[in-house]
Structures are given as structure tokens and as C-alpha cells.
Point group: C2
Chain length 327, copies 2
DNA sequence: TCTCTAGAAATACAAATGTATCGCAGGGCC
DNA sequence: GGCCCTGCGATACATTTGTATTTCTAGAGA
């Protein structure tokens, strides 16, 4: 897919350079110049197919960014309602989209814009994980925040998913030009005792201290369906029935909560390596970026629990949230 | 399905509002959501044709903005060469495009970006005219610079061209949220005497004083071919041979200069209502935004004359400038 | 040297997009 | 009321774009 493109192992530096030059020119001609793909191919002496591929990759890898300046009246009013209903400092609502991944990307980009407005050099950021959060990165101003740092707020999956804690935090730190700290541990320890042992590790304890002290946190959440990347790991899936039985509707930073936002009483919650939801309340800016109708229950639970003070979601989800109980 | 009801061909204001809502949604779905035009049409209950037209209009009226983050190595190096060759503080070079209007727009947008980086609340801006300058407006941050003001640097054409002095300055002031001052006079007075009389007008004298005091000036220039909007006015065209005979290669703010940048000795130059080129030298930031190969002589003349300290042009023109004599 | 395979080019085709044309209806104007 | 003019809907069509499939090529490894 469009992970960093690996070149042939012959002349990496020179070849890469040339590819980058062609890409820059193709993208510019297409998006800024309005040339047709065929015209670009002729002009640059490459095939149209190649032009097409380059444009496709640029669309997804964030090297081209479109910005729409027309505010959607309906979404703006939903934002206001969300803010007053759940006592939020800010809310962003994007239109509902049929394609789930496009929806996630749209929410992520809006979250990136919101986060961008809160950042400046020296501010620290904590991040969760998920495809939604990864999508926010291209939206951030690529500045050199040399005094800032980024930290993961939770342990990682053992299997790379493209949106793992480690990947998201690395990319975010990279985009900001900031240092990066990882919670080098699995999300769930095998036992409560091993968790205690891990938390005693000086490095991990230090990162958790940092996590508690961030100026801004960017979070997502998961439900308990097979659509959730976390819920579909065997660790969680095996306990799914138990969790549902205990009233869980989904997770926030790996901790499962019920419909009211209360942390459910279940052993899994004793094995989480992450910032606890309650600890979020002392962070100045906390952004929950998540959408799609099926996640409305979890999002509602988080908002009612008062764990975050900002939310980014989609239109359909916003309506569902407003149809449910208030905080 | 969320189909907003839109059937009220009665009241214009309400109707306009509805149109704007539909437009915002169409544009968002297309550019941010990646839906197809047909999908959008179905979803919103309008025809694909309408969707297509709305998208077309959004593309040109600046309500959608694409930004490419890949720098073009060739253009960057041309920028550096221009800066050192002509002693400029900054230079921007965009790739050459076959379509002339697309080229102008691209240059204008780059100029807008450059100007945007120089502005802050309280700074004042002077502008010339032309399609290139008009294109820079969508690129400016739409902020509320309530302490800033914008002023025209030259008189206007009597016929609206969409890029007249009045139009460009109005739109620029509008985008910045700043006050606007017009040089309410024709570019060329009928006689030198009538010019003197006009300049004695308190309002006009005041605006000219303001023009001399701006913090930043955004300028374009014209050659003496029929392509130039100014040269093709009857006033100038009638004198074209004389001007060419006097060595003129084009105009800067309505004043005709020769290949070395010297103001040519011609009566028309005594009838101009505009800031004089020499007066530009005392303005802190002066941006010349102009391109296309055929304008290289004029642009070169202006750079050699040292009238501006920043330039925005296209690749082909930049190469031509660098092939010519230095300052 | 041969084969195997990944990647690029060529080809082909289906979908999406942009544009021209025609006819109709509403609104402004006389 | 009649008339013109604008703008939209419908249709049709040419162009552009995206993608699947096949073919070709060159390099890696046996």
C-alpha cells in the first residue's frame, strides 16, 4: 500500500532524489497548474500510468492538502449544541460520509486542525492510537517545535497495524519536529502482577509521569464490535462477553467504561498500561477524535464521564449524541 | 437519507442561503469526502450537472484551496539565484504552465502566500492591479486586521475588467478585514495640467501620502504588446510607437521604463496618477508578481532598476531573467 | 547460464468528469 | 399581456481518470 516507498537496492540516494523531483513536479502540475495527466506525462516524458499513480499516492500521503473555506451551517450548529450539552470547550463536526475510512480520515483531519490551533513551541502532546489519529498528522503545521515533546499515552499492540501507538506518536513527533517518548509496553499485561512490575521500570514510570503532565492529549476510543482494532485482538475478544456483561460499551485508552462513563469492574482493567481516564481530567486540552454511528455509545459515555473537554466527530454521530442523555 | 428540502423559488435571501448551504455541502463531499459527483447529486437530490457546476465555481472562486507541500528543487535553486543576482530579499518561482491564465493564477497564489507571511495586524498594504494580483487574494489568511489598511497605488481604468485597481484593492481589504483607500482617478489624466489639478484634490493627495507610507506593496507590471491590459487601452495604444521609440519596454504602476529600468522621457509619464517607481524604494517590502516569458524584459528592467526587493515569477521567466544582464 | 520474480510499461476498459446543445419556465421590463 | 433574458434540467457526447490485466525487462539467486 502506500507506506514509505522502498526503492530498488541499486542506487538509493540518486534514484530517490530523482523520483522525488518527478513527484513534486507531477503533483504541482496537476493540482496547482490544472494540467491533465496525459499532458503532464508528455511534458515529463513518463507514462500516464505513472502520473496517475504518483497523484494517487500524493492524495493519501498528505503531500497535497485541500482546504475548504465554506462553513457548513448544519455542522456549525451541531458543534454549538455539543458544546453546551456536554460542557465542552470546543467541538468540531464534519459531514457524514458513506465510506468508513474516508470518514475516519475526515475526522482525523479536523482533529489535526483543532490540535494545530492549540500548539506552540514548548507545549507537549500525548497521543493514543488509531487510524483516525494518524489522519490528523498531515493537517498539522510542519513546524520546528524543538522545545516540545510528544508522548504515547498507552502501550502498543505487538503487531504493527499502521496506526499503532508507536507509529502514531513517531509520526506526530516527526511532523512537529519534537522529541518522542514511547510507553514501551503492551497495552495489556498478562497479569496484574506483571503490570505492577512493568510500572516499576524507571523508563516506563518516567514516560507515564510525562503522560500525566502533557499540555494537550489527542485520543480516540473503541467499541466492542469486531470493527474495533483493539476489541478484535484475541486478548480482548476472548473476554468480550464478560466485558459486555459488566456493562462495558467500549474503551478509552484501553480502559473499558460503561454507558455512564464509569470504569467497569473487570480484571482486564487492572492490566492496562496507559494513562487512566480519570487522569485525563487534569490535562488542559483533551481532544477526543472519533465518529461513525456505531461508536456513539462509547463517545457519549466518555463525554458524560467528563474525561475530555473537546470532541471531533461526524454529523450522524453528533445527532445521535444529542439524542441521548446529557452529561 | 438526509435530503434537505429545497423548494422555495420565492424569496431571494432565503434562496441564496439555501444555495450557499448546498454549495458548502457539495464542495465538502467532493473535496474532503471523496464522493463522486453522481453520489453527491443523489444524496442531495440535485442533478449531477448542478454538482459539476458548483464544483467548477468553487475551484475558481477560491473557496477551495489546495496546497502542495513538496518543494520543487529546480524552482528553489532558481529562487536562490534570483535573490543573489538581483539583490532581493526574497523570491518565489513556480513551474511554467502552458495556459497563460493558469500561469497568472499560480504566480498570484504564490505572491499571496509571500504577502501573507509578511502581514500582521497594523501593517498597511498598497496594491497595483491585474489578474495576477487578484489571484493572490484567496491565498491570504482571512483574518481580522482591524488596525490595518489597504490602499491603491495607482488610478483605475474607467472600464471594469474584473482586475481593476478598485476591484483588487476592495477584495484585498475585504480578505484582510482592513479599511480600503482608493486613488479615485484615472490612471492617465488627459493633460499634465489636469493631473496637477487632480493631485491638488485633498482626498487624492491624502491617499497618495498613504501610498508612500505603506509597509508592503504588491505590484505587477505590463509590457507593450496587445496582451497587456493597460497597453491595449486606447490611451496607451495610440502612443505605442512613440513609447517604443523612446525605449520603453513596459510599465510599472503606469509609468513606462526602458530596459535599464530608467523612466522614459515621454509626455504620458507626466500624466500618470500613481506612486512613482522611485518612491517604491522607501517601502520596506515590495513584491513584484509577474511572469510569462514575454514579460521578462519588463521584469528584468524593474529588477535592474532596484524598484522592488521581492519577486514572484515562473520558471521560464526566471531562467530568462538569469540569462540577461545582472543588476 | 538459467530460471524466477518483482516492478515497470503497455494495453484495454469501465467509470467519472466536463461541456455543448436544446427546451422550458420564471422574472423583469416595456 | 407580450417579450426577452437568464438559468436550470435533460440529453448526448468527448475527454479524462482509475484500475485490472498482460507483457516485458532486468536483476537475484541457484
Amino acid at each position: 500500500m502506500n507506506v514509505p516507498e522502498l526503492r530498488s537496492p541499486v542506487s538509493p540516494p540518486e534514484d530517490d532524489m530523482e523520483v522525488a523531483r518527478v513527484k513534486a513536479r507531477v503533483v504541482w502540475y496537476y493540482f496547482m497548474g490544472g494540467l491533465t495527466q496525459q499532458e503532464i506525462a508528455d511534458r515529463l516524458g513518463i507514462t500516464r500510468l505513472r502520473v496517475n499513480r504518483i497523484i494517487g499516492s500524493a492524495r493519501t500521503d498528505g503531500s497535497v492538502r485541500v482546504e475548504v473555506s465554506l462553513p457548513l451551517a448544519e455542522c456549525v450548529s451541531l458543534e454549538e449544541e455539543l458544546k453546551s450539552r456536554f460542557g465542552l470547550l470546543d467541538a468540531a463536526v464534519v459531514p457524514a460520509l458513506p465510506a468508513h475510512d474516508a470518514q475516519q480520515r475526515a475526522i482525523g483531519e479536523a482533529a489535526g486542525t483543532m490540535l494545530g490551533g492549540l500548539l506552540e513551541d514548548g507545549r507537549s502532546v500525548g497521543v493514543g492510537w488509531g487510524k483516525t489519529l494518524r489522519a490528523c498528522i498531515p493537517r498539522l503545521p510542519a513546524r520546528r517545535f524543538s522545545r516540545s515533546w510528544v508522548t504515547a499515552l498507552m502501550g502498543g499492540l505487538t503487531r504493527g497495524s499502521g496506526a499503532n501507538t508507536f507509529e502514531v506518536s513517531t509520526q506526530l513527533a516527526d511532523a512537529l519536529g519534537a522529541d518522542c517518548y514511547y510507553l514501551a509496553a503492551p497495552i495489556y499485561c498478562p497479569t496484574e502482577e506483571s503490570r505492577e512490575a512493568l510500572l516499576a521500570h524507571p523508563g516506563i514510570a518516567d514516560v507515564l509521569r510525562r503522560a500525566r503532565a502533557v499540555d494537550a492529549a489527542l485520543l480516540s476510543c473503541g467499541d466492542l464490535s469486531e470493527r474495533s482494532l483493539l476489541a478484535s485482538t484475541s486478548t480482548v475478544w476472548d473476554m468480550r462477553e464478560e466485558l459486555l456483561g459488566a456493562g462495558a460499551v467500549g474503551d478509552l485508552l484501553g480502559t473499558f467504561i460503561d454507558a455512564e462513563g464509569a470504569i467497569v469492574d473487570h480484571p482486564l482493567n487492572q492490566r492496562v498500561v496507559a494513562l487512566a481516564p480519570d487522569e485525563l481530567r487534569s490535562i488542559p486540552a483533551t481532544i477526543l477524535a472519533s465518529g461513525s454511528l456505531y461508536k456513539a455509545p462509547v463517545i457519549g459515555a466518555i463525554l458524560r464521564g467528563g474525561y475530555v473537554n473537546r470532541v471531533v466527530t461526524d454529523e450522524a454521530c453528533a445527532r445521535a449524541l444529542l439524542a441521548g442523555p446529557a452529561r
